[in-house]
Amino acid sequence: MNCKIIVGVQKTDFDLNLEMEALKLKTKKAGAVVFFVGKVRDLEDDKLKYLEIESFEELAKRKIKDICDDAATTWDLEYILVKHRFGRLELNDNIVLVITSSKHRKNAYEASRYIMECLKSNVPFWKKEVANNTQNWVENS
């Protein structure tokens, strides 16, 4: 297993171009790169004011690292990056970035989906949607 793994739990936003440049320095044999970006979306029937993400930072970092290690063992990957934000985020702000890179695209896609599934329910972040008339903690999806 020769997969570079990068994990971040942070307030700051991502720069997709910079992440791509950093990746390219490490993945000359990889032809496929999958980026997943989760972003703040508007509600169906109310107007979102903002999203508040609470995190248990140290544990979140460790859990994400474990998930990446699992993925790197399961699929033939060259590079995994997971950065998850917390704090107050506005409509359309980025929440999470998952990058997976592999020689062939199948592995990058499958690993990306796996990591996202795990992030949804196994990593200590909690989202609260604050809208015009409502305010509620998001349930799992």
Binding site: F56, L59, A60, V96, S121, P124, W126
Partner: protein, 85 residues
């Protein structure tokens, strides 16, 4: 046991009314700890997980068996189901 840092997140934090506290713990497992806390105030009954599931992490390891020992622990966290991603 000595002083333990208790951490609460999300709905658990809101119900208990603080993000963390440092307390002198006598109990030797989580189940007993929850009873012990409940004697300090009714808000701690949220930890019993009757309204929504409550998870715990002892020294940053997720614990599923609430009867497992917490002796020597320095940090115990309680939180509802996670909703990241």
């Amino acid at each position: 046991m000595g002083k333990v840092k208790l951490k609460y997140f999300s709905r658990v934090r809101e119900i208990i009314g603080k993000p963390s506290e440092l307390i002198e713990v006598k109990s030797k497992n989580l189940q007993d700890l929850i009873e012990e806390l409940q004697s300090m105030g009714e808000q701690y009954s949220v930890l019993k997980g009757e309204h929504f599931v409550v998870y715990s992490a002892v020294d940053q390891n997720m614990v599923t068996d609430f009867k497992a020992s917490i002796e020597g622990a320095t940090e115990i966290a309680f939180f509802p189901p996670m909703t990241g991603g």
